[in-house]
């Protein structure tokens, strides 16, 4: 693995890709490829995604996390991503920010979940300085006690990714597709979705948030913009990402097993 070029000031290089309304599955595929096959540090900012999409973590079980019948009826896409963490529903009101780093990119940072999470909050402390009562609460970004940013990570031998979906805005009806998770942070205190989350738009504009994020990154890295086409042209055709769209049959089977684990109907559907 080559060590990224360091600028004269000692800040490591970070390449920045800015996207707008890029499909979330394609974003995840790009991220996974960069994590696994690149030796550079990256920041990806995707301002929204066109289609409302449910995104579960690597161990997510649809029957436990989703209201299956409306999800199937409304044909809401469900993705299982390669990182850990919980379930979100994303759409045009979401803003995605991803950091992909070599483990030595941040001095004195141990490549484990909690140190990386803490470090990320330092970046966003700068972004939200003077804006709302921002902090990292357990593993969520909150204003006060209301979540507006969900995090997930993946850590390999020499690199890590920390990505966040921010709720700049959301549709209330979309939250109805998600169940209250059995594994929830303590501070949630059994609140339902609408009592638990808040909108970032009540605190900051989209453009200000993105500009401040890039500026905050610049205090830790030497940031250079990169075009997505440059990455796509160099993509390895051998790489197979783990993030994938679940089929309707998979979602339906999960629901069937939950309702009646030994039902023959679970096995007879086409």
């Amino acid at each position: 693995m080559t060590i990224p070029q360091r600028q004269k000031l000692g800040r490591p290089l970070m390449k920045l890709i800015r996207l707008r309304e890029w499909p979330i599955l394609q974003q995840l595929h790009i991220e996974e490829q960069l994590l696994r096959t690149s030796s550079e540090n990256w920041c990806i900012i995707n301002d929204g995604t066109r289609e409302p999409t449910i995104v579960m973590g690597v161990s997510g079980k649809p029957a436990e996390l989703l209201e299956i019948k409306p999800v199937l009826h409304d044909q809401v896409p469900v993705i299982k991503r390669f990182t850990g963490g919980g379930t979100v529903i994303v759409d045009g009101g979401s803003i995605f920010v991803t950091f992909i780093c070599n483990k030595d990119a941040v001095p004195d940072l141990q490549p484990y979940p909690r140190p990386i999470m803490s470090w990320s909050s330092l970046i966003y402390n700068e972004v939200f300085h003077g804006t709302g009562d921002f902090h990292l609460r357990e593993n969520d970004y909150v204003f006060g006690n209301r979540k507006f940013g969900g995090n997930a990570q993946s850590i390999t031998k020499g690199r890590w990714i920390h990505h966040t979906s921010f709720l700049w805005d959301y549709e209330i009806r979309n939250m109805a597709y998600l169940k209250l998770p059995s594994r929830a942070p303590e501070y949630r205190s059994a609140r339902d979705h609408l009592e638990f989350i808040c909108r970032m738009k009540d605190y900051i504009s989209r453009s200000d948030f993105i500009d401040r994020t890039v500026r905050a990154l610049g205090t830790h890295f030497s940031v250079e913009s990169e075009e997505l086409e440059a990455i796509q042209s160099g993509r390895s055709t051998k790489f197979s990402p783990l993030s994938r769209l679940l089929t309707a049959q998979e979602i339906e089977s999960a629901s069937c097993e939950l309702e009646s684990p030994k039902s023959l109907a679970c096995f007879s559907s086409p």
Binding site: V58, S59, G84, Y112, P113, R114, N151, Q153, I155, T156
Partner: protein
């Protein structure tokens, strides 16, 4: 930083001795103060390997499970596949992260710990015994020679923690 490290090491040792149900074979081994067992070999990516006859057991160390936090999911391969020294063979999920598990040795996977599907927390409570992950038929036993012994690994962990 040093005080916190010592407290963590002592807590790990106590946790191992009081919570973990050490089998007679393991209880005969010395337990280093940092939760590191004698008789095992260790990789810099914090996996351990115990070579017994034709088979070697592999798991993650107490140091690793402590830093990862509560393990909620373990993704392991099927028996019959192969592993390469230093290569990833699976992952654990903890907090909000998936973390790769890398094999300290090369060989054929002959057994996988299926208990970890229902009880992933065994990786935290019993990293060296019930939390074992795969058993491998080594293709090159000489690879074990390049791994760290308990004293070397103890020093490695202390230096790694002190550096951060």
């Amino acid at each position: 930083m040093a005080l916190r490290m010592w407290a963590s090491s002592t807590a790990n040792a106590l946790r191992l001795s009081s919570k973990a149900s050490l089998s007679p074979a393991f209880s005969l081994h010395r337990c280093f103060s940092s939760g590191i067992l004698d008789g095992l070999k260790y990789a810099p990516s914090h996996e351990w390997v115990k070579h017994e006859g034709p088979v070697a057991s592999v798991g993650i160390t107490d140091h690793a499970q402590d830093h990862l936090g509560e393990v909620v999911f373990v993704d392991l391969p099927e028996p019959g596949g192969s592993v390469s020294k230093g290569g990833s063979f699976g992952a654990v999920e903890s907090v909000k992260a998936t973390s790769d598990i890398n094999s300290p040795i090369s060989g054929e996977i002959v057994e996988v710990n299926t208990k970890l599907t229902e009880t992933p927390g065994l990786v935290n409570s019993s990293p060296y015994e019930d939390g074992w992950m795969i058993k491998v038929k080594p293709s090159d036993p000489s690879e074990l020679g390049s791994l760290m012994g308990p004293k070397e690994y103890t020093k490695f962990c202390e230096e790694e923690d002190a550096a951060h």
